[in-house]
């Protein structure tokens, strides 16, 4: 803060009593000052609009095949060109936003719900429950994430829903550990002791006192988690273990198109760009949220 700014703020302070700003309002203000986070939000906003209004925005039916025009490069009528079966790639990318965002958000939400519960129980109860839960999480983390997801899909069978479950299961340990660490630090605070002393029940302490104080790191990790969930989902679909054809899923589009990319490279360019931009958007927003919500965490 420059001297001028300092003077100005002290003047305003004398003139009017500033209303106390809440954590959230403060965080939003900081977030909106972060240029990279804004870029992330704009990117995500565009994809969100695509996802919400896909049937209105998409120029063509994403499943309609025009076999005569197959592998046609981008033109005015089909700006992203046509794929192997003559389907409009632009429309498929637009509809793909629905799937990718849904898989990313749903799998991370599931992981957060179960991970948070496990972390809360583990951190609050301590003792053998803590030991058991955390050792299980250690075992899960001992697998490379993609490998564990593939193993789970191998058990459940390929498909969009099973892939979503696999990605959620794989991400649970991260949140469980995060929440447990938060709980341990919040638990030691005096106000929890005070709540205990006046006879507040355990569940009330957990959900009314401890959880709200653990929420900011979950939000940050969750946003970054959506980015990696989308990447994993695209990877699994690419391998043929996730969304099945003819579903317009970005990873599956790459998987189907990879054999014709030498004659028609446009088939793989656009779905790949879409994945990259969405993931970039969530990464930028996540970094921004981390800086905004907890300046101490800044790298």
């Amino acid at each position: 803060m420059s001297l001028a700014e300092l003077k100005e703020s002290s003047v305003t302070f004398q003139l009017e009593k500033r209303a106390p700003t809440s954590l959230w309002r403060d965080a939003i203000r900081r977030l909106l000052r972060n240029k990279l986070a804004i870029v992330g939000m704009v990117i995500l906003g565009v994809f969100l609009l695509c996802a919400l209004f896909a049937p209105l925005i998409a120029p063509h039916d994403p499943l309609e095949q025009r076999l005569v025009l197959r592998r046609q490069p981008p033109s005015r009528q089909y700006p992203f060109g046509l794929d192997d079966l003559g389907r409009d790639i632009l429309s498929r990318v637009i509809f793909g936003a629905q799937l990718s965002l849904r898989v990313g958000v749903l799998s991370v939400s599931l992981a957060i719900i179960f991970g948070t519960l496990l972390g809360l129980v583990s951190g609050y109860l301590g003792g053998w429950a803590d030991n058991l839960i955390m050792r299980l999480m250690d075992i899960a983390l001992a697998f490379p994430a993609m490998l564990l997801a593939i193993a789970i899909v191998a058990i459940l069978g390929p498909g969009l829903m099973n892939m979503l479950i696999a990605i959620a299961l794989v991400s649970i340990p991260t949140y469980a550990r995060l929440v447990r660490a938060q709980v341990l630090s919040v638990k030691a605070q005096d106000y929890i002791l005070a709540a205990r002393a006046i006879g507040v029940t355990h569940s009330r302490i957990l959900f009314r006192n401890i959880l709200p104080n653990s929420i900011t790191p979950i939000i940050v990790q969750g946003t970054l988690g959506i980015a990696s969930a989308i990447l994993d989902a695209a990877g699994l679909s690419f391998l043929g273990l996730g969304a099945q054809p003819p579903t317009p899923e970005w990873g599956a589009m790459l998987g189907e198109g990879r054999f014709s990319m030498f004659t028609a490279p446009h088939i793989i360019i656009f779905p790949g760009l879409a994945i990259m931009l969405t993931v970039l958007g969530f990464n930028l927003l996540g970094d921004g949220l981390r800086d905004a919500l907890d300046p101490r965490l800044r790298m």
């Binding site: 990279l36 050792r135 299980l136 250690d138 075992i139 001992a142 697998f143 490379p144 994430a145 993609m146 490998l147 593939i150 193993a151 899909v153 191998a154 058990i155 069978g157 390929p158 980015a227 990447l231 695209a234 990877g235 690419f238 391998l239 043929g240 273990l241 990873g251 790459l254 990879r258 990319m261 030498f262 490279p265 793989i268 360019i269 779905p271 790949g272 994945i275 990259m276 931009l277 993931v279 970039l280 990464n283 930028l284 790298m299």
Partner: protein, 359 residues
């Protein structure tokens, strides 16, 4: 320190048990019985009964698990349903391919990531710094399989600079170490067989084998095949390493002893490369260690794109073909590799930084 290693080894034991439970359950949770999966839906009842007896599928589940455990402890994963080869042999062929790819990717990542991070920190807030940081943000968000496709299209198909698939060009000979040094004549007996098995295993590290056997043609060919997959797989760690190098170096550069070094009149290059980098390296090494394990995940996708005959591709192919013995073995060995890398990283970390004390 010793206590910490012992603790980690105990945990490792339980982790391995956990992994074995998962791979074992995999076989029993799949829709349909293992007999259906292995023999197909149209097998006769008699055939199914014989199969169940042969594999001990009528025994209690705990007995079956213990039997499975004792088998895998001896490195016996059974035979592939698909190829009828011993799974252990298939794994021995493919593990070196994955290790070679992973190390290649890490080498590329460090080769580009560390200098980029140093330059970005040195020219802090310059245009180069901005480009590096934006580049690394994009790098982290890049789907590795897409990058692989794009690289193989540009360098393999368009420019014909590098081969886009496989580990060696067809026609390039790479005799095994056993053959070149005629080990079979030197080592005989059961101990000799073990030496030969080891040398056959090592021969699957193509670059190593080409070096040891003095085969420049195969060496250059194998190296060329390794470049594109390594570049694709190495991009994400490269971005992470560049970011970490930059931020770690910037932190160190703000310290008093750096000011002292500068005040002594040392050149900026000596200050950064000798004084600052030494202390900035610890977080960089940590990140490299963490990323090394993560590379195994990426390798699964990279191998598929570059037709790289490694573990990842084996697992994916066999999941789709429902070849469960091979999948079990592949998952088990990859997880084992991952766990061992993480253990080594943690232990070496404790050695490198005397300030770290493990309880």
């Amino acid at each position: 320190m010793t206590r910490y290693i012992v603790q980690r080894l105990i945990l490792l034991f339980f982790v391995l048990l956990g992994i074995s439970v998962i791979t074992f359950t995999m076989m029993h949770l799949v829709p349909g019985t293992p007999a259906d999966v292995m023999l197909g839906e149209h097998a006769t009842d008699e055939k199914v009964a014989r199969f169940r007896k042969a594999y001990g599928l009528d025994d209690p589940i705990l007995i079956q698990y213990l039997r499975y455990l004792s088998k895998i402890a001896r490195g016996d994963f059974g035979r592939s349903v698909r190829t009828n080869f011993l799974v252990t042999e298939e794994l021995a062929q493919r593990l070196p391919a994955t290790v070679e790819l992973t190390l290649g990717a890490m080498f590329v990542a460090c080769l580009i990531g560390i200098p980029a991070g140093i330059l970005a920190a040195y020219h802090h807030n310059s245009f180069f710094d901005l480009i590096t940081m934006i580049g690394s943000l994009i790098g982290v968000s890049m789907p590795v399989f897409w990058l692989g496709l794009v690289l193989s299209y540009i360098f393999g198909f368009r420019l014909h600079l590098l081969p886009p698939s496989a580990r060696l060009t067809v026609g390039v000979e790479l005799p095994t170490i056993t053959e070149v040094y005629n080990l079979r004549a030197i080592f005989t007996g059961s101990f000799g067989n073990k030496i030969i098995a080891l040398s056959d295993f090592l021969s699957n590290f193509y670059i190593f084998t080409a070096l040891v056997t003095g085969n420049p043609e195969a060496f250059i060919d194998a190296l060329k095949h390794l470049i594109l997959p390594s570049l694709a797989l190495g991009t994400i760690p490269m971005a992470n390493i560049a970011r970490m190098t930059r931020s770690s170096l910037l932190e160190v550069l703000g310290q008093d002893y750096i000011r002292t070094a500068r005040a002594k009149g040392l050149s900026e290059r000596v200050v950064i490369l000798v004084h600052a980098l030494k202390n900035a390296f610890l977080p960089i090494i940590t990140v490299i260690g963490l990323l090394l394990g993560g590379l195994l995940s990426g390798a699964i996708l990279t191998e598929t794109i570059f037709s790289w005959p490694g573990m990842g591709r084996l697992i994916v192919d066999r999941v789709l073909a429902r070849d469960y013995p091979a999948v079990q073995g592949g998952v088990m060995v990859t997880a084992l590799l991952f766990v061992c890398i993480n253990l080594l990283v943690d232990v070496s970390y404790a050695y490198l930084d005397p300030r770290i004390r493990y309880e």
